[in-house]
């Protein structure tokens, strides 16, 4: 059988298994393995299965994945997220829709030490949703705001999404993280503007204003956030001060978080053990998917399908902008159908070579991919952040309510995507400044 046919059948088989609800890691790995078997023979396929899991998980630069997960867990379990929310609430909670603003600000700041959109959505559902409901905020908009603000964790470094993209493409994870800073902050500001508009148009979304916190309360709550600010500055300062590499930043951040919690007398065995066990289990899940993804992409490369697709797309002679617009449309549809991590793993092996051949900056494309991920995480029916918010709300908000409130946030993300497409400098400016500095 022709290798292109093998690749096509393996891809079709993988999609069928995916639709049947088989875990993504197994769909990718198994179909990739069968494809490799047909292309290179049984022994060849087995060698890949023997070498890839170990070589992937023993690569030092990928240690950022478990380490950033560990750091995020420590910060969450150690109460740092709650302190951020309290500070944001006291600073801006008295504005109309203030608790929604506080949620966005708190989630954006927590993103600086948490790399997972689902973790952010879960944490802020537990912290801010009960408060918003107590103040008679619209449950749908409150839930939607938490789910959407949680997506900032994908853009603001450190981001698991960027690490996965970096691993799959061998692009610099450090450069990706720097590139995410400005778009992340802009998206958070855009959310704040959107909330201001929403509560003006429909005051019933946030019917009550909180009393303004006293100056002393504001200052004391702000002082409580020193630990997160310090941790963030430690990581960024450490990387750009040359004290450690981006690959070691995860371990540095985890170590820093442990020291901070110990200094604040919060580092109990319970917090520590819950944090490292959860980090180990999430890492196992992510590495399993990455192993499957790499087996599958190896099969595609071996079959020649990737080169065929690149040849075909370059033959169309699309401008980089047209290509990006075309890909945006494809990703918008895909984001509604499959979960975000699977979307990266299924498409990047095909799309990355095409994008690179078209002369698009791979780091810039990585950031656009994150915007697609943000959209995918909040678009039904498989928006992971929507599920996370509903699951963590303990029945306080239903999926139907969130779906009614999510459309303005989805629309805003589409607008942000358009802005990043029209003005790539927004994404590329900071990495260029860092490189030239």
């Amino acid at each position: 059988m022709d290798n292109s046919w093998v690749a096509a059948l393996a891809t079709a088989g993988m999609l069928v298994l995916l639709a049947l609800g088989v875990p993504v890691a197994v769909c990718l790995g198994l179909s990739g393995f069968v494809g490799l078997w047909f292309i290179g023979g049984w022994d060849f396929a087995l060698v890949q299965l023997e070498s890839l899991p170990f070589s992937l998980t023993s690569t030092f630069s990928y240690s950022v994945l478990p380490m950033f997960l560990f750091m995020g867990n420590l910060a969450m379990n150690g109460g740092m997220a709650r302190e951020l929310y309290t500070a944001a609430d006291r600073l801006i909670g008295h504005f109309r829709g203030g608790l929604l603003h506080a949620t966005v600000a708190g989630s954006a700041a927590f993103s600086a030490i948490s790399g997972s959109t689902v973790v952010n959505a879960t944490v802020f559902t537990r912290i801010s949703l009960p408060e918003m409901l107590r103040h008679k905020y619209s449950a749908g908009v409150a839930g939607a705001c938490i789910a959407a603000a949680g997506c900032l964790a994908a853009m603001i470094p450190p981001s698991v999404t960027m690490i996965v993209y970096g691993i799959l493409t061998s692009e610099s994870i450090g450069a990706l993280m720097v590139a995410g800073v400005v778009p992340g902050i802009l998206t958070a500001l855009a959310y704040a503007m959107l909330i201001s508009i929403l509560v003006r148009v429909d005051p019933s979304i946030a019917p009550t204003n909180q009393p303004r916190a006293s100056r002393q309360e504001r200052l004391s709550s702000l002082r409580q956030t020193w630990s997160i600010a310090l941790l963030f500055l430690f990581i960024i300062g450490g990387i750009y001060g040359g004290y450690f590499s981006p690959s070691a930043a995860g371990a540095a951040g985890s170590f820093g978080a442990m020291v901070i919690l110990a200094v604040r007398r919060r580092l109990s065995w319970d917090i520590l053990s819950r944090s490292f066990i959860d980090a180990a289990v999430t890492s196992a899940m992510l590495f399993l998917i990455l192993i499957g993804g790499l087996i599958f992409s190896r099969m595609l490369v071996m079959s020649g399908a990737v080169s065929d697709i690149v040849r075909f797309t370059t033959g169309l002679q699309l401008s980089p902008l047209m290509l990006m617009i075309l890909l945006s449309l494809v990703y918008l549809v895909l984001g509604c159908l499959i979960d975000t991590l699977s979307m990266i793993l299924l498409t990047v092996p095909f799309v990355y070579p095409v994008v690179k051949a078209a002369g698009v900056d791979p780091v810039y494309f990585g950031i656009l991919l994150v915007v697609f991920i943000e959209l995918g995480a909040i678009t039904p029916p498989v928006g992971m952040n929507l599920f996370a918010t509903v699951a963590a709300s303990d029945g306080r908000v239903s999926m139907e309510q969130i779906l009614r409130g999510i459309s303005p946030f989805v629309l805003l993300n589409v607008v942000m995507l358009g802005i990043f497409l029209a003005f790539p400098q927004i994404v590329q400016w900071l990495p260029q400044q860092m490189a030239s500095g």
Binding site: V24, V26, L49, S58, F60, Y62, F244, S254, L272, F287
Partner: protein, 168 residues
């Protein structure tokens, strides 16, 4: 069957704690490496190699708990709209394919681990660290996941519809 399940629960629990300890050690090693570099101007010997070995342990020894928590990512679109009978079939299929795939990796993992032990494989670097313990951890973690699939198949093939059990 119950005895096997209990043994597997114990194995998953021990393996998960080992994975967690590996995560903790990676953080400590990384932190001490930075301190050593900044304070005495010399990086900690074998910090990189040690991290690489620990990462393998962290990535695979947590598979038992991952399986028990049902923490795999899957697309549930079809499943949500299917009846109980079809969901049961899908659970069977999932366990069968998972068991097969993990079994292949475990099989090759054991093979690789014993080969590594036979040649006393060590990492490259100033301080040489044996690689075979981490290769055995890969095989053990995968084998625990395979055994969970087999036990659940023997118990009737409930996977996604089964209530996730509490952590060991």
């Amino acid at each position: 069957m119950r005895k096997l399940e209990r043994a597997l629960e114990l194995a998953s629990s021990i393996a998960t704690w080992i994975a967690g300890a590996a995560v903790l050690l990676m953080a400590l090693l990384g932190g001490l490496d930075i301190l050593s570099t900044v304070v005495i101007g010399r990086p900690l010997a074998a910090a990189v190699e040690g991290t690489e070995v620990l990462m393998v342990i962290a990535a695979f020894m947590g598979l038992g708990l991952l399986h028990k928590r049902r923490a795999y990512i899957a697309v549930d679109l079809l499943r949500e709209h299917s009846g109980r009978g079809l969901r049961r079939v899908l659970d069977w299929l999932t366990l069968l394919l998972m068991g097969g795939y993990f079994g292949l990796i475990a099989w090759r993992g054991w093979n690789d681990a014993f080969e590594s032990l036979a040649v006393r494989e060590f990492s490259n670097g100033l301080v040489q660290i044996p690689l075979y313990p981490s290769k055995f951890c890969l095989a053990i973690g995968m084998s625990i996941a395979v055994l969970w699939c087999i036990v659940e198949l023997l118990k009737g093939g409930l996977f996604r519809d089964a209530t996730p059990q509490p952590d060991p």
